[in-house]
Each structure stands twice: as C-alpha cells, then as structure tokens.
Subunit: 564 residues, 2 copies
C-alpha cells in the first residue's frame, strides 16, 4: 500500500490540477449521512446532504450530519449542490449545513425539491431550489451534469452523470429498476445506455442490496397482497410503512377504496409527505377518500383503513401509541388487523417486535415479515439490478457507495463475476477517490468526524461527553462534597455523599454512611489538605474502590472540594 | 370475563384444596427467566430456575431472575425442584435463588445436572443434584412425576408429566422432535403417547416457534452445509454458534476432521460446555483433534477450525475480539472464512451485523443468514412439531409458555385448527392457572417484579434507579452547589455549577457562567434562604428552564445546599 501511495504522489504532481477528487463527507462504509464532494480545479459540485443515525453508544444524540470541515478553505469554489432524491439520509442535513456555506444553486427533481423546501421551512430557511428532470443538462464550472430517472421507494429519484475534462463519473445513489412501477413512470435506461456508449470512467453505485440474489421484485406485486389482507379483515385495517414510500401509500389507498374503505392518516411526516405528494400529483387520490381522525370516529370500523407512521416501532410514533393503547383517536381490538409493510432497519428489530407483541396483547391480528410473505419490497436493487446498471454503464472503475463493508465486498464479487478485474473496485476507506486521464486511484485521507446533533446543539457533544453519559448510564454517579477549613486546612466535617442511579436508597441505607466514613478516614490521615488536586484524587480512588468492593459497580465519582 | 371469575370464586370454595395452582415466577409472555411453581395442598414442586435478559431501558443491569416472593410463606412446602434442561434461561438463576430457599432435592438429567453443578461451583455453592432419566418416576408429596426425553439444541432435554389427584399436567418446556438426531438418541414419543392415553388434563407447551410453518428441520441437515463451507475454505475456518449447542459443535468438529483440520476452542463458557460434555460422553471426540491456542499458532491455517464464542456479537466475546482485531491468539485475514451457525436473538441484530462488517473489513469471507441458506436450525419446534405434541397428549386444556403474546396467539390458532375450542387455551396474563376435577381456569393474580441483578446487588436496582440512569444517559447531570451563610441566611457567593455528560466544555464555556448568574439572580431575589426545600426547588426549576432554552436538553439537576 505504501509503495502505491508513493506512485500516487508523483502522479499528482505531474498531472497538476487535471484530476477529479471525490470525497465522501458523511464517512465511509455508511448507509446514511450521504454527502459527496466532487472537485476539479477550482470547481466543486456537492451531491446530497443527508442525516445519519446515532449508534447505540451515542447516548442522547438525536442524529448525525456530514462533516463539512473539508470544505472550509474552498467554500467559494462550490458551484452547486444536486439532490438525488427526497429521503432523509439524502436531504435531512440541509437545514444544518446550508446556513454554514455560502449561497450557491441547489438542484433537484420536483418532489425532492418540494420535500427539501418543507424541511428548510421548519427551520425558517428560505432557499430557492432549481428543478431538474431526466432531460436536464447543467453546467457547473468544468462539470457538465446530465440525469437519468431511476426507480426507488420514492418518486423522482435521479442518477447523475458528471462529465469532466478527464472523464465521466456516474453517480448512482439509491436505485432499483422497476419496469411495472405503480406510477407507470419507467426508469430511463436509454439515457444511461447513451452515457455508457459515450464512455463512463467511474461508476459510483448503491451497493446496499448486494447480498440479495435476483432482482428486487416490482412494487406492483404488493397489490395482490393488499387485496388478500383486506379480504378477510372484519374490523379496522391498519397499515404501517415508511412515510416516504409514496407508491406503497398509493397502493394501500387504492386497495382500500376497492374494498369500500376510506383512509385515515396519522403521523406528522406521513401527513406532510402525503400532502406534498398530492399537491404535486405524485399521489393520485380523490380527496373524498381521505377522512380526518375526528370524522373517522363516527364511521364503522370495516369502512376504514388507517395509514400510520412508526413502521420501525419508534417510541412515540402513531403506531407505537396504538400498540400501547395510548393513541388519542385510534384504538384497536379483536377483529382489527395491523399490517407491517416494511423492512426492519437494523437495530429496530426489538422495537418492532415489541410493538407487534403489544398489538397481539390487544387481541389484534398482526401481519408481519415472520408470518407472511411478500409484504414489502426493498427500495434498493438486488444483485441483478446491479448487474444491469453495470452492463449499461460499462465503466472502467467502480466505487460502491451507500453500504457497509459486507455490501461492498458482495458488490465486488458481482463485478468480478461479470469479468472486470477486482482491483477496478475502489474501497477508499477514508481516502479520496482520484480520477485523471490515466485512470482512477485512491488519494489522500479526508478526516470525517461524527458531527452529532443533540437538541439545539450541533457538534457540542463529543467523545468525552459520550463517555460520561455511558458511565452515568451504567452505574450512576456519586457526588462527594468535601469541606476544608480555609485556615486550618483540615476537614470541617465528615464529607457529604449523594448518589443518583447507583442503588435503591433503602438497600443503600447502610452503605452511604460507610462510604462517608471510609472517605473521612482516608482524608483525615493527610497532614494537610492544601492540595485540591490530591484531595480529589484520594476521594475518587477511595470511593471507586469502595463501591467496587461492595456492589461491583463503577459509578462516576464527582468530588467537590470547598474551602469554608 | 368478570362473570367467569365470579363462578371461579364459588368453585374455589366448594373444592377446598383439591386443586393444582400453577404460578409462573418469571412473569408472563416471557421467553426467558423460566420458573414454574406447582402447588397442591401443602405440596409445592418447582420447575426450572432460569435467568432473563434486561430490556434496553434497564441500563447497567446484568440480568433478571425470577421473583420468589410468592413462595415466602410456603417455603417449607417445597418438595423439590426439577430442571428440564441445561440452558441459562432454565438453570442460570440457581445460584441466586437456591441460597434463599430451604434445602430440598433438585432433579435433572445427567448433562443438565453437570452444567448446573458447574454454575453453582462458580458461586461456591455445594448442592447435591439427583439424576433422573426418561424412565424415572419420582413422588414429591401428592405429585407423581414421570419424564419423556425430547429433542432440543442441548442433549438431555426432558418434558415432565405431573400426575396429581385432580389430573395430570404435561410440562412441555423447550422442545422439538428430531428423528435423525446427531447423537442418535430419539425423542421418547411412546412415553408421551402412553401418558396421553392415561389422560392429560393440561398441556403446557413451548410456543416460541409457533410463527414458523412446517416442522423444524433435523440438525443432521447441517452436515452437508459444513462440508460445503469447508470445501472451498483455503485459510482458517471459524465457526460461531451458541456455546450450549452440543450437537452443532459435534458436527462442526466431525466435518473439520473429515477435511483434515484440528479444532481450537475460544470462549469461557464454550470451553466449559465442551469439557463437561466430553467428560460425560455427550461429545464424542478424540482428544488429539483438539489443540490449544498456543499450539495452533505453529500450525498451518488450512489445518485449523476455530470454534469461538460470541455468535450474537457480544462485546468482549472471542468473536467480537477477532472481528475488531483484538484477540490475542486468533487473527483473521483474506482467505479465512467465518461462519455464523446461529439464530439472531432479538435485539442482537445490530451487534451481529457490526461484527460481520468488521470481519469483512479484514478481508475475510463471512457466511451468515442473509447470504446463505441452511446455516442453522432452531432448537424449538415449528407448527408441525407442536401439532405432533398436541396429537400425542390430546389434552383438555392448553397453556402456551416460553413465548411472547404473538407466539401465544399463533399457538392458539394451531390449537383451533386441530379442532379444539379456543377457550381451552389459557392466556393467564399474570394470573395463576388452576386445575381441579371440573377443569382448568384462571385464578388469582401473582405479582412478579423484575428482580434485577447488577454486579453483586440483587434487587437493589429498582425503577427509581433506572429512571435516574435513563435521565443521566440522555443528557447528563448538572450539580449546583449553593452555599448559604448560616447566620444571615443569604448566599455566600455565586453558586458553583459542575456538569458531566451535558455539553463539550469548550462549547459550554460561556454557558456555565451564564447558568450561574441566572441561578444567583433567582436565589438572590428571595428575602431569606432558610427553606432548603424551596432553595432546591428554585435551583432545579431555574436550571431546567435554562438548559432547555439554551440546548433543548434536560440534564438531571442536583442542587446541593450547604450552610457555612
């Protein structure tokens, strides 16, 4: 590897600036937090600006956003930003990131822009978004951008072809190919093929579905499923799915109408998505078929379908509240049916199954992945979809994106099976991918931190704060208040000890006086208590040892020394 | 429901004590923490004594144990305890529970007792365990117990038939029926059938697999899988499975020997299980095929299979350490293969997939559920296994155990499909199940708390402690130290404010002085600061409001008032 870098550095020099540098500002081997920076000379084009989700250790953190520190000294070079589609992990970071960068044009397809505008409005940000479609061509500095509409779980999903003086890059964010789509709009394969004929040097391809054999089935296959599940439902019919799955909502609504049911919506972002999609004509529903929660309460159960948010069992979501019997307007009972038309996002399994179990406890019939087939199709292509894109683009190099290491490795296997050399697949780790006339290779490291959003704070929760929260979560805290006489430098009294989250106070009744005594003895041994640093060290050590021995617990020890 | 209870109460009186009362001391609709109490007159028989696992909200809690407070006033009635098999969720509670109860005989099959003995030894508890097998018959007070060997993922798993003066109960804990078992030992269907012929009034049946159609495939089907996966492995072959799956270990070892490999073990409880199973002859391996970690390091990779603990990706386990490159003796590299022959325990999915991804990052080939079929078979029966047990026992009443609500409801559907009335299925919630000559019905509530074990403490972590830990985990803590002049009852100085886990100190630089000032102003407004309760209330309110406004965070506020 070291040898290679040596060569790269020489090449860098000889080529001067005639190269495209691609940096992922959301990190590497990430499914979410998508943001890519394309750089050629003094021109920068950004693609997407999404949020990511905190891992288990990131206690109390709401979300993650891309790290734009790489752009610090070159903000003036940004010629524009393009949004591939309207999912949170591609547009959710806009309200946090846009205000920190200079003004530049932002491009997206119609629905994408409408959803991005809604998001910005929530944060009182007013920004003009420029509409593109599959026939658009835009020039941003030395970049010429063309587009191809692809299939995904939200309409108006675009792939981007970035033509540069040293070759063309195909930016294939989230996609699949659905030739019988619910909205009838076909993916634009000929546009991709034409670009492939002109020559594509580097293919960035969504690789999230690379573990799955075959092609992802068409959304249309779900029509029959909805009919089947509605046919034997005697009470309320409740459907939960990802709020942004517009075509899934269309199908659930159409099927409900076929079965003589009106539709009720519950969930903030679901309602927002439906409103926006109806306004723009992406959801094709007669308004009379939608009834509000209040009106629905005067209607018969078997005349109603409820579309509710919370397919991942998220605490506080509409579905969660229905499951625990805490929804103000929707209560379920025997005879009703709840359908989970969704993937399980890794890490949500426990919450989903808890929701399912709570629903069963109410006597409701639940239909979910483990007991019925074909309730959901993925928004991401399987192995055959990926092969199709590779065939059409026939690139010289590959850069799998939007997946973890396992997805990347499975993508690489597909590429190799199709006859390309394995070393044409870039696995950049945290490096840039550099393209010039000679070819594509890895460049410098780009440092990407976890920029965490917690409440109003952006980036003010770091590793120290997280470590503290983990420690506090595990065994609580012990505060020891040690008063020193300012003249004699001796203890005024026994120290005070307060604990939270350590032990049930009654059980700890005898414990705290003993802890006090232990600490008092240790401090009293000292001749003089002038050195606060030393006092704190003694207190921490003594109390750590004490609680370890007594409880095998390691609370955070917070000694407070005061001179009085 | 109410009407029914009325009738029940009348029946209770008329029948006096001629009834069996069954209480679940590990709670209801639980997969783990198995412990059942059978009571007839002055005789009590206990079945199993397992641990449960804390839910996500139980921060810092190690495990849960059954709540034996129901036994408080009747400990002297306990005639004995029977262990159905050697899994943690059936025997893991012994070291916590046995010392709290009087001495009584404990029964179990050979391997079960050996594993229970190991567990007790760790806690320095010496207790005689009495061996039973499929032909045993024991009398415990008015109970006569017979047994039937069934299949499960650990050998020596038993079902129990409890004959009483008012009818026979069949206690069918975890089971499946494997007619081509790895160890050749058949489940004792004829013993079950004979008991069924004599008449079984109530069937307690494991229902965990009730979502799955068909019968659970035989363990033997995995032989071919191991051969297939070994055939193309050029480097180390690493297998992870549940440490107690003795037959799986036998198969992995046999297949490895067939492919000219020696076997290395890594993981404390895996090594313990293998040692015990080999000593008792449950694992049939020539010792020369097992090599220790040190010797293995002088051997060629393709001559070695590693059996490692950590199939759920548990932090600190052997597999976890291999995946993050932190195992002292086992390092993996391209050419090696890691096989997950395991179920994903709900809630472990994220950890398992993180381990898989870390392994891919090391260039290793990983074989897991999402990319290959038939890597694992469940230890629990599917719908057809359950039907078979129902056919053989032909009970009057049913009581599905060992599953959540969803499993119970699916079990009920099976029962109804077989022609039994739905109301013969007891779903006790937290109630007792009561059997007398007339039939079976629900009885009184039995209160079962979550008894949590944290370090050395048993039951000293309650809801208050957990709530505190959750609050601390979310947004940390702010300690405010308020000094009051003991004579003037006025503030001595500005309060001191210390925070942990709230905000990165540098970002918070301006924040804490501002918080101090806010608090000082609010307290200084008071004429006199005599009332400590009031001072604390003001401090808490002020600081809560302050941090909500500034950060949208809600740290725990801990005001400390001192007179000086």
């Amino acid at each position: 590897m070291n040898g290679k870098i040596g060569i790269n550095q020489r090449m860098n020099k000889s080529n001067g600036r005639r190269q495209v540098k691609i940096s992922s500002l959301g990190g590497f081997a990430q499914v979410n937090r998508n943001m890519y920076c394309y750089e050629y000379g003094n021109d920068i084009v950004l693609v997407d600006c999404g949020i990511g989700f905190p891992t288990e250790e990131m206690l109390g953190v709401d979300l993650l956003i891309p790290d734009i520190s790489y752009l610090k000294d070159k903000q003036q070079n940004i010629r524009g930003m393009v949004l591939t589609h309207g999912h949170e992990d591609h547009i959710g970071g806009l309200p946090y990131i846009l205000p920190k960068l200079p003004n530049f044009p932002v491009y997206g397809a119609r629905l994408t822009n409408a959803l991005a505008k809604e998001k910005l409005k929530e944060y009182n940000i007013n920004r003009k978004l420029i509409e593109i479609d599959g026939d658009s061509e835009i020039r941003l500095g030395e970049f010429t951008l063309r587009f191809a509409r692809v299939s995904h779980s939200i309409p108006d999903t675009m792939h981007i072809m970035l033509e540069t003086p040293v070759g063309t890059v195909y930016h294939g964010a989230d996609y699949k190919f659905d030739f019988t789509p619910v909205d009838g709009i076909q993916p634009q394969l000929s546009a991709i093929a034409a670009e492939g004929d002109r020559g594509i040097k580097l293919l960035l391809s969504d690789c999230l579905g690379s573990e799955r054999r075959g092609a992802t089935p068409s959304e249309i296959t779900l029509n029959k499923m909805f009919d089947r599940e509605l046919a034997d439902c005697k009470g309320k019919f409740v459907v939960t799915t990802m709020s942004s799955s517009i075509s899934r909502l269309q199908q659930a609504i159409d099927a409900s109408i076929r079965h003589g049911r009106k539709v009720v919506l519950s969930g903030r972002s679901l309602e927002k998505n439906v409103r926006v999609a109806m306004e723009l004509g992406y959801l094709n529903i007669d308004k009379e078929h939608i009834v509000d929660l209040k009106r629905s309460q005067r209607m018969k159960d078997h005349h109603l379908t409820y579309l509710v948010e919370g397919s991942q069992g998220q605490e506080g979501s509409a579905l969660y509240r229905i499951a625990v019997g805490d929804h103000h307007h929707i209560s379920v009972k025997p005879g009703d049916k709840v359908l989970f038309s969704t993937d399980y996002i890794p890490g949500s399994e426990l919450a989903i199954h808890q929701a399912i179990d709570n629903l069963y406890q109410r006597g409701v019939d639940v239909v979910y992945r483990e007991v019925a087939d074909g309730l959901h199709v993925s928004g991401h292509g399987g192995q055959e979809d990926m092969k199709l894109l590779i065939n059409l683009t026939d690139p010289e190099y590959f850069y799998p994106i939007g997946g973890q290491y396992k997805h990347i490795e499975h993508y690489k296997k597909i590429v190799e099976k199709m006859g390309y050399a394995g070393d044409t697949v870039m696995i950049p780790g945290g490096r840039q991918v550099v393209m010039d006339e000679q070819g594509v290779r890895l460049g410098d490291m780009v440092s990407v931190r976890n920029v965490m959003v917690d409440g109003l704070g952006v980036g003010d929760v770091g590793n120290v704060v997280l470590r503290d929260r983990q420690m506090l979560a595990e065994d609580g805290i012990v505060v020891a208040i040690i008063q020193i006489d300012s003249e004699t430098k001796q203890l005024v009294d026994e120290p005070d000890i307060i604990s939270r989250g350590l032990v049930y106070t009654k059980s700890g009744d005898g414990l705290m006086p003993e802890a006090k005594k232990t600490l008092y003895k240790a401090l009293d041994k000292q001749k003089s208590l002038k050195d606060w640093h030393l006092i704190k060290k003694i207190a921490t050590n003594q109390l750590q040892r004490f609680f370890m021995k007594k409880l095998e617990r390691q609370p955070m020890i917070l000694p407070v020394v005061m001179e009085v």
